[in-house]
């Protein structure tokens, strides 16, 4: 089942540091007398610098795995080692600490705090880290926003930003704590194709800088931008392979028709997004 090919990592530097190591992971939900097997024995390793796309239909277990990998949930059985720490037996508070220091999240629905500026949204994870001074928090927030190209929008509220910009703020928020890994759950699900490419482009650029990314998607197109593809079905991994003919989001973006032609369409999409995100 496992077809890890470490040498094919995006960096190609031959680094062998394993960020995620999962062995025999099972997750069983008990609903009354019925036991629902969400995950049936998952083995998965993710090496530093990889860009993994997890694919599968809804109910395949990919979201459950994502929650466990993201330390939001605990497995029923099996072990999970994140950055050399066995977290499968950690307490609620220890998991919170790990999420705060080692993990960055990007969600489908952005999950930005309304009526809170872009910069304050980005600073949010650092507010829960007592070791970081307010000055350092501000500096790191500005740095993260700059790295996603939104240095000029720091003071803007989420409802003053387009859907793509909101997701970039969310990515900056995921970056601000220098995580060992970023989890992105359907990050392009609420975006049109142009902004999707913009967001994926940012992920690819971050990945090129060496950041490990695990991205959940059900769109095969999006998976083509990753370095590795893991396919789920009925709580099991049915395919785990390196992506052939990997696409570059930047190139796709350039190939799209000029923006003014689809301007009206984008506006329409953005209006609905704003309503949803508020």
């Amino acid at each position: 089942m496992q077809k890890n090919n470490i040498e094919a990592s995006a960096l190609g530097t031959g680094k062998t540091k394993t960020v995620i190591s999962v062995k025999g992971l099972e997750k069983i939900y008990t609903m009354g007398d019925v036991k629902v097997y969400a995950l049936r024995g998952i083995d998965l390793d993710v090496t530093e610098g990889e860009f993994v796309a997890i694919m599968g239909t809804s109910g395949s277990g990919k979201s459950t795995l994502m929650n466990i990998l993201g330390c939001l949930d605990k497995p029923t059985t099996g072990s999970y080692t994140l950055d050399g720490v066995n977290v499968s037996t950690s307490s609620r508070d220890e998991l919170a600490e790990i999420r705060n220091k080692k993990i960055g999240f990007v969600f489908q629905s952005f999950n930005l705090l309304s009526r809170t500026s872009a910069l304050e949204n980005v600073e949010l994870p650092l507010l829960y880290n007592r070791k970081i001074s307010s000055q350092e928090r501000r500096e790191r927030g500005i740095k993260a926003l700059t790295s996603v190209g939104l240095a000029s929008r720091m003071k803007n509220m989420p409802n003053q930003l387009s859907g793509g910009q909101q997701q970039r703020v969310a990515i900056a928020r995921a970056l601000v704590n220098d995580p060992v890994i970023i989890f992105a759950d359907e990050p392009t699900g609420n975006l049109d194709s142009r902004t999707s490419f913009e967001v994926i482009d940012i992920f690819q650029k971050l990945n090129e800088k060496g950041i490990t990314i695990v991205l959940v998607t059900h769109e095969p197109d999006i998976a083509q931008f990753a370095t590795r593809k893991v396919v789920f079905k009925d709580g099991k991994i049915i395919d785990d392979s390196q992506v052939k003919d990997r696409k570059k989001a930047g190139e796709e973006l350039a190939a799209l028709p000029p923006i003014d032609q689809i301007d009206s369409e984008i506006k329409k999409v953005e209006t609905t997004e704003k309503v949803e995100s508020n």
Partner: protein, 410 residues
């Protein structure tokens, strides 16, 4: 320390985001605290005012009656024996350090004639100390002298109800002075008019009186050797009990009362009256405080209500905060801080408003109002307590949320 500042920052930001809702929630606490402060001010003020009025009634007065007599087993009621004397009255201030004043009293209810009219009234005979003990003053003329008492002079002071009935309602009080009045057919000269005292606490008209020197009434009108009662005054209301004991000692000694035998006199004070009044005002203060506390309680429930709504509305926000590393305790503290900040500022504004309302009542209705520091502290602390108490349940509920469910909450 840093994390506490951050929690405060987060809470303040959240409250600012929903400023109108924050202010409306605060309003419940503001009204609650304001009513506690105002009601306690009114209550304490009324209590002090009642107490000072009760003191004016003469709560430090001590009245000594002869004990009841019995002939062949038939008891004849208090004040019927004839064993109190002028010497007893004179002995009291000399021997009782707590009782500086005493006056013997003889009393006769009799017919008086003047200006061609007649009227039945009570004539009191007493010494000059009677006036300070009863807090009696004249509005015209003056009281009699000790010399006039010793010589049993036929002079008297007259109450205004008597004047009304003999001379009519609008008669000039000053022109009564110097006129003649016949008491039990003995002519007296009116030397003064007494100030209006109104009814006493038992409904008796205290202005339907004539006061004459003691010996004049005892010898000329009543022809008796004893006194009906002795009126004494303790140095202060708190010394009434001590004074009563001292009087009991000296009179028992003078009357040669054997140990274990009931004394032949009875002492009455108005301590019961004063106790009754302060009990009434205490009940009133407690009642006002209960009413005020109910509004504070309602304000607290308002906080809980809004916090619960707010937490449901902000479930995804809570989920996100947890996802980026906020522990349950931090979420709990955040929402608790919001509740406490609301009640804290509500408390400050409420104290100000309460003082303002009390001042308005004081100026507009001339009620006696006393704002004590205690009432402010109590109101403020109960506001903070209400915030913590009613904020805790919603905050705990928020902290128990599962981050995954919270993030997906629609």
């Amino acid at each position: 320390m840093g994390i506490i500042i951050n929690i405060l920052r987060i809470s303040l930001l959240a409250l600012r985001k929903n400023l109108l809702r924050t202010l409306l929630t605060m309003l419940g606490i503001i009204i609650g605290v304001a009513s506690v402060v105002a009601m306690m001010g009114i209550g304490t003020g009324s209590k002090q005012s009642i107490e000072s009025q009760v003191n004016n009634l003469g709560t430090n007065m001590i009245i000594i009656f002869p004990a009841s007599t019995s002939y062949g087993g038939v008891a004849s009621g208090a004040g019927t024996s004839q064993n109190l004397t002028v010497e007893d009255a004179a002995a009291i201030p000399i021997n009782c350090p707590s009782v500086p004043l005493s006056a013997p009293i003889v009393r006769s209810t009799t017919q008086v004639l003047a200006n061609g009219q007649n009227w039945r009234t009570t004539v009191y005979g007493s010494t000059t100390d009677y006036f300070p003990i009863k807090n009696l003053h004249t509005v015209a003329g003056d009281i009699f002298t000790p010399q006039e008492n010793k010589s049993a002079a036929k002079v008297c002071l007259i109450g205004q109800t008597v004047i009304k009935n003999l001379w009519g309602a609008n008669y000039d009080l000053n022109s009564v002075v110097g006129q003649s009045i016949r008491i039990t057919n003995i002519p007296f000269i009116i030397i003064g008019v007494l100030e209006i005292k109104g009814q006493n606490s038992f409904g008796q008209d205290q202005d339907d009186v004539i006061v004459a020197p003691f010996y004049t009434v005892q010898r000329r009108i009543l022809s008796i050797t004893y006194v009906n009662q002795i009126l004494a005054s303790a140095a202060s209301a708190t010394l009434v009990t001590a004074g009563s004991d001292e009087i009991t000692d000296i009179l028992s000694q003078r009357h040669k009362t054997l140990p274990g035998v009931a004394p032949d006199f009875t002492i009455r004070t108005q301590a019961d009256l004063s106790n009754a009044f302060s009990a009434i005002s205490n009940v009133m203060s407690v009642l006002l405080l209960i009413i005020a506390s109910i509004s504070l309680l309602v304000g607290g429930i308002g906080i809980m209500n809004i916090m619960l709504v707010s937490i449901t509305e902000r479930t995804r926000e809570i989920g996100l905060r947890m996802a980026v590393g906020a522990k349950g305790t931090i979420i709990l503290l955040q929402f608790l801080t919001e509740a406490v900040v609301i009640s804290f500022f509500g408390g400050i504004i409420g104290v100000g408003l309460g003082i303002g309302v009390a001042m308005i009542v004081k100026n507009a209705m001339h009620w006696p109002i006393v704002i004590s520091v205690t009432s402010i502290v109590v109101a403020f602390l109960s506001a903070a307590g209400v915030g913590i108490f009613f904020g805790f349940y919603p905050a705990r509920k928020a902290s128990m949320l599962n981050p995954i469910d919270a993030l997906r909450f629609e």
